[in-house]
């Protein structure tokens, strides 16, 4: 895009500040620079308009609830504490170029986008209905309790199959192999062996 507007800051400088500008979080000097650039840069105006639409959409989305466990873990990470026995470990610090505000925006933004996407999918009838009255795939989220319950149910199903297979195997072994193979052969052998050794007295 051609523009005659010259500015000491490059396009990336403005790009990084679009969200802060929308949220009114830029320092006054930077805000003035940004506003001035907007007057002359059509591409930047387009980016700002897009960001405003995204921001409004996200603001309208119901905030996903975060479990207390997750909050505790995030707090532990933010304090630089390695969770005792939790398997969490802070390997490195983030780049100092990334502001804490931006760090916070990513997970919130992604979570909000996920919720928005779910609402869209449900709105267009995405997930097909099932007859499941216990756990419905159309549910937007699963609690840990639901996942644990499903794990128990999966184990139960496997146990049923295993039990049926074991029972069938036992039946086949006893009713077929033992009755029609092992016993007749044993009887035949006994008759043959002991018949041959029959007492002669």
């Amino acid at each position: 895009m051609a523009t005659s507007f010259e500015h000491p800051h490059d396009a990336a400088w403005f790009d990084l500040r679009i969200e802060s500008y929308i949220d009114g979080e830029l320092p006054e000097a930077e805000r003035a620079l940004f506003a001035e650039r907007l007057l002359h840069d059509a591409e930047l105006r387009r980016q700002v308009a897009l960001a405003e639409r995204v921001s409004l959409s996200l603001a309208a989305v119901e905030r996903p609830l975060c479990s207390e466990e997750m909050v505790a873990r995030v707090e532990a990470i933010s304090q630089g504490v390695s969770g005792s026995g939790s398997g969490m470990r802070i390997l490195s610090q983030r780049s100092p170029r990334v502001t804490p505000l931006r760090l916070l925006r990513w997970p919130v933004g992604i979570a909000a986008c996920a919720a928005l996407s779910l609402m869209v999918i449900r709105g267009i009838g995405g997930f097909p209905e099932t007859t499941d009255t216990v756990l419905d795939p159309a549910s937007e989220t699963y609690t840990q309790a639901e996942i644990d319950a499903a794990l128990v149910e999966a184990k139960f199903a496997l146990a049923v199959v295993s039990d049926a297979g074991r029972h069938a195997g036992t039946t086949v072994r006893e009713a077929v192999i033992q009755r029609h193979l092992v016993r007749p052969v044993n009887t035949k052998l006994e008759n043959t062996v002991f018949g041959a050794r029959a007492p002669t007295n």
Binding site: G126, P128, V134, P137, A150, V152, E153, A157, S162
Partner: protein, 178 residues
């Protein structure tokens, strides 16, 4: 800004793909509409399990540390469906209907691997295979002593020895009590 848009697309992509994945479960060769057996009984099922799609993945992930082999098996499955019914008050058509269902499966390429009727126990097991890969399993088990009928359909890549080995670790009674 571009990163934010990219994040939106990345976050949303699996969710938009989810309906397609869920629909594929019902299109899978090993999938059996197990709800058809519900019409055989006057009462609601006493046990109803439908685990598929994202939930099945979550369940596999939840068992990863506790039982890696179970997690490995669950990851290769597409669906687990169970219906359990109380036999009290059931008409005598149950075994005939089970036989009809078995013949229907056989006509669709399923192989009968077990059919046992022994002193109040009735077990039918069917497998649907594509070459060496088993794509589905159906178990119909009727226990007249316990007045219980169980219908199981497992969809996905199945290794029967793995199911037997893993399933033996779980005690049905203990799981039912939970």
């Amino acid at each position: 800004m571009k990163k934010l848009i990219a994040a939106i697309l990345v976050a949303a992509a699996p969710l938009f793909l989810a309906p397609q994945a869920s629909a594929q479960v019902q299109d899978a060769r090993g999938f059996v509409d197990i709800t058809q057996v519900e019409s055989w009984f006057s009462d609601e099922p006493t046990i109803e399990v439908n685990i598929r799609g994202a939930l099945l993945n979550l369940v596999a992930e939840a068992s990863r540390f506790e039982d890696p082999e179970l997690a490995d098996m669950l990851r290769r499955l597409k669906a687990i469906q169970v219906r359990g019914f109380d036999l009290s008050g059931v008409n005598d058509d149950l075994l005939r209907r089970s036989g009809d269902l078995g013949r229907s499966l056989e006509s669709k390429g399923w192989e009968t691997i077990v059919r046992v009727r022994d002193d109040g126990d009735y077990v039918q097991m069917y497998l649907l295979a594509d070459g060496d890969v088993i794509e589905g399993m159906v178990v119909l088990a009727v226990d007249e002593y316990d007045d219980e009928a169980m219908f199981v359909n497992i969809v996905g890549e199945i290794r029967p020895d793995q199911i037997g080995r893993i399933g033996r670790k779980f005690n049905i009674g203990a799981l039912e009590d939970r």
